[in-house]
């Protein structure tokens, strides 16, 4: 495996206080990495730094050897908020949006083909002509995932995308996400505060604590109670 993202000595300050300090982290190609930690530990900040949405105070982040200086198409973010979809576009319109307005031009046939493929993947083919306000929360997040994947980015950044969903919908979306990941092998960096979610999805779990990488855990056996206990031990103060 080759590395997709390399983070070295990364620090980020807010009002003079270090939120993240001297983070070193490599993310391998095709990895599903979950970042967990108590709230306010800088999980989202780290994700936003990787995506290039905010500026770092020191250190470096590279994506496939290239320094990340600004948001870019190879690293697409999926947010927790349901209003990340554009209400004036249908489900299909939302998924096609990044293709239609892309600096790299896509042909009409290609746009059609790609949007069909990804709508199928998130199981929303029957809802493609719906507007976002007609969708449930889970469907909105499915649409957002399809939109994020449609330009085939190298990395998918997910900021608690299922945080506002009920348990049933959440586990359906977990399954869909895992299926998609197995099919596309996109590198996924997934932030959550739900330890069980991380245990179910990730193959690498990072525990962020006191502004640094506290532990890196290989999650070889999914949903293991033993790992759960171990993580809870790390997280307790």
């Amino acid at each position: 495996m080759s590395e997709t993202i390399r983070i070295t000595n990364l620090s980020k300050l807010y009002d003079g206080r270090a939120i993240l300090k001297d983070i070193d982290l490599t993310i391998e190609t095709g990895e599903f990495m979950c970042i967990i930690g108590p709230s306010g530990c800088g999980k989202s900040t780290l994700l936003n730094l990787i995506g290039g949405f905010i500026e770092r105070d020191s250190g470096s982040i590279t994506l496939q050897g290239q320094p990340v200086l600004r948001p870019n198409q190879e690293c697409i973010m999926v947010f927790q908020e349901f209003d990340q979809l554009f209400p004036w576009k249908t489900v299909k319109g939302n998924v096609e949006f990044p293709l239609r307005n892309n600096p790299h031009r896509y042909s009409k046939e290609r746009i059609e083909e790609l949007s069909e493929t990804y709508l199928d993947m998130v199981k929303l083919k029957d809802f493609k002509d719906f507007y976002p306000h007609q969708l449930s929360g889970g469907m909105k997040q499915r649409t957002a995932i399809a939109r994020a994947l449609v330009t085939t980015p190298k990395v998918l950044l997910m900021d608690e995308p299922f945080g506002s969903l009920d348990i049933q919908t959440k586990s359906e979306l977990h399954q869909t996400l895992l299926e998609i990941w197995k099919r596309t092998r996109t590198t996924i960096v997934f932030v959550t505060h739900d330890v069980r979610e991380a245990l179910h999805l990730a193959d690498q779990i990072i525990i962020l604590k006191d502004g640094g990488v506290y532990q890196r855990i290989e999650n070889n056996i999914k949903d293991s109670e033993e790992t759960m206990k171990k993580i809870m031990g790390f997280l307790s103060p």
């Binding site: 948001p71 973010m77 209003d83 990340q84 209400p87 004036w88 307005n101």
Partner: protein, 261 residues
């Protein structure tokens, strides 16, 4: 009771009320001892309207006023778009625009008339100036509010796909703030009417047949009360037409369909 409620919930309930108001009007005009010079009956108003349409210039005057409003609105929309976009981008420009709004928004166009006559004269240019003045400031307020209401996530998404600033503005910001833009346009339309009528009444028909404001003013000079009402009917009619067939249609095709209203 339920049936009555259902009737007034419909989109045409406005027309039911109009009919009721007309009936009451006619009853007052016919059954009470008011002078037709003060309170003319519907037939008199109808006759005056028909007469003005057939033998007079009322339709052309109406078109003239509407044309002025149309041009004024376009200038107003373009200017307010430029000014609100700039004030969203630059805090320096924003404070400048805010100051302008504090100064000019409470200033009625009519109060500026003497100055405008002095500076621009009394032609259509002067009327246009007043229209633009009365439309510009409330529309800037609405547009900036609209642009500021856009979720920051949208900007992030635009950046994420490496869109140019122009693309972010036209493909994301404008549709995202459309409810505000439509509301602003409605306010602009109403304000433009007021400005046009008052300016026309004062400037008269310098070079041409003048507008509907000049028509009403003329009727007053001749104590032609039904004629005054005929002019008002034309304005109300145009207002309802634009509201029901322009704004309502736009809203059905956009904000209503998108679940934003």
């Amino acid at each position: 009771m339920q049936n009555i409620k259902a009737i007034f919930n419909k989109s045409y309930s406005k027309y039911i009320w109009i009919v009721i108001i007309l009936i009451v009007w006619e009853a007052v005009a016919k059954l009470t001892p008011v002078s037709p010079l003060v309170f003319p009956s519907l037939e008199l108003i109808g006759a005056a309207l028909l007469n003005s349409i057939l033998t007079g210039d009322i339709l052309f005057q109406m078109l003239f006023s509407l044309g002025l409003i149309f041009v004024g609105l376009i200038i107003g929309v373009v200017l307010s778009f430029v000014m609100s976009s700039l004030s969203v981008i630059s805090p320096v420009f924003e404070s400048f625009v805010d100051t302008c709004i504090s100064i000019f928004d409470p200033l009625p166009g009519i109060a500026l008339l003497p100055l405008i006559i002095l500076w621009i004269g009394t032609g259509t240019k002067a009327i246009l100036f007043i229209i633009v003045h009365s439309v510009l400031w409330p529309m800037i307020l609405n547009m900036t509010a609209g642009f500021k209401s856009i979720p920051t996530i949208y900007k992030k998404i635009g950046q994420n796909y490496e869109f140019s600033s122009a693309k972010i503005i036209f493909k994301i910001y404008i549709p995202a703030s459309l409810p505000y833009l439509i509301a602003g346009l409605k306010i602009g339309w109403a304000r433009a009417w007021r400005a046009t009528i008052s300016a026309e009444m004062i400037f008269g028909a310098s070079g041409g047949i003048g507008g509907i404001g000049w028509y009403i003013f003329n009727r007053r000079v001749f104590m032609d009360t039904p004629g005054i009402f005929a002019g008002l009917v034309m304005i109300v009619f145009a207002g309802i037409l634009v509201e029901d067939f322009f704004f309502v249609k736009i809203e059905e095709k956009t904000v209503k369909k998108w679940g934003l209203s």
